[in-house]
């Protein structure tokens, strides 16, 4: 019995080692959204392309969408845009844009240069919907199901790997039970 007690520090050290090892490689800057499983916050904002048209939560009704938060000022948004174009054109993904803390003119010039993968773009110059969504760093990409419920949030660039390994499974699951 006493012998066994001598192994206690070893057990303790191994337990701490396993715990710390599990944390290696986790990105502490990525937070899970507080809104997962909850509806997109209520909003009423202009359509980027048609200021007279007001958009609200009905944008998300009826089909699974990606909600991509972007701005011309955001360098990583330039990086991921090519892949969003690919998703919209070849994979038939419905992408709704949220133009976040940007201006119409700069947003237009961005879309002219890089193309427009968005079915609709919500214009949020003051970042009010972004704030309610808990956006803390563009680009962010949300998976919204056909009932307008947030299923997932990805912070950072969307690329082939992120799409295949993270977003596509969530999208398929959202399509499965709606």
């Amino acid at each position: 019995m006493k012998r066994l007690l001598l192994f206690l520090p070893l057990v303790f050290a191994v337990a701490i080692g396993v715990f710390l090892f599990a944390g290696i490689g986790k990105d502490p800057t990525k937070l899970e959204s507080a809104l997962i499983g909850k509806p997109v916050p209520r909003f009423e904002l202009q359509d980027l392309h048609a200021p007279e048209r007001m958009l609200d939560n009905s944008v998300f009704e009826g089909q699974v969408s990606l909600l991509n938060v972007w701005g011309e000022w955001c360098p990583a948004c330039w990086d991921e845009h090519g892949y969003l174009m690919h998703l919209a054109q070849y994979e038939g993904v419905r992408i709704v844009g949220l133009n976040y803390k940007d201006q119409r003119e700069t947003a237009f010039s961005f879309l002219r240069k890089l193309g427009d993968p968005y079915e609709t773009v919500i214009y949020d110059p003051r970042g009010s919907l972004g704030f309610d969504l808990g956006v803390y760093g563009a680009p962010e990409t949300y998976v919204i199901d056909a009932e307008g419920i947030v299923r997932y949030r990805h912070v950072g660039v969307v690329n082939e790997r992120v799409w295949r390994e993270i977003l596509l499974p969530v999208v398929n699951q959202a399509k499965g039970n709606s």
Partner: protein
């Protein structure tokens, strides 16, 4: 480099330049202003690693300070304000996590560690104390032998 008092003075004068651009909010009372300062000191910026929204000048922290101010003016309580921000950004933004079933171990751990350490120390002390009282250092026969040996030694020297 030679020590130059002039350089030191210039350096000291340059320090205040680093101060950040202040924002001005109007508060009706001192107490309200203090409440605002306390709130922004215990809310954490989600964008930055470990900075509160009072210290951070990330745009998101500015938005959060605006929201704290706006809700205060609308008459919200501290819990309502913190709750509204947690609902948006998650529990990450709270420096003091709420005490509930998931966090009880986190809160209780310092006390558990102190009590555990105390018990171990107490155990060690008591065991060593008992050993001293229970086992006499030498039995009477041994004592006699020691005296014998010492006496021999005295005689031989």
């Amino acid at each position: 480099m030679r020590f130059s008092p002039l350089l030191l003075v210039i350096w000291l004068l340059a320090l205040p330049v680093q101060a950040e651009v202040p924002e001005f909010y109007d508060f009706s009372t001192r107490a309200e202003e203090q409440r605002y300062r306390d709130l922004i000191a215990e809310l954490r910026c989600p964008k930055c690693q470990n900075q509160n929204i009072a210290d951070s000048n990330a745009p998101i922290s500015k938005d959060m300070r605006d929201e704290v101010y706006r809700m205060m003016q609308a008459g919200a309580s501290n819990d309502e304000i913190v709750g509204a921000l947690v609902a948006r950004f998650g529990e990450f933004v709270q420096y003091k996590p709420p005490v509930d079933r998931r966090t009880i171990l986190l809160w209780a751990f310092p006390a558990i560690a102190v009590i555990g350490g105390f018990l171990i120390v107490a155990g060690v002390v008591m065991r060593s104390g008992r050993r001293e009282t229970q086992e006499p250092v030498l039995s009477p026969e041994e004592k006699a032998r020691v005296e014998q040996l010492l006496a021999d030694k005295d005689r031989s020297s």
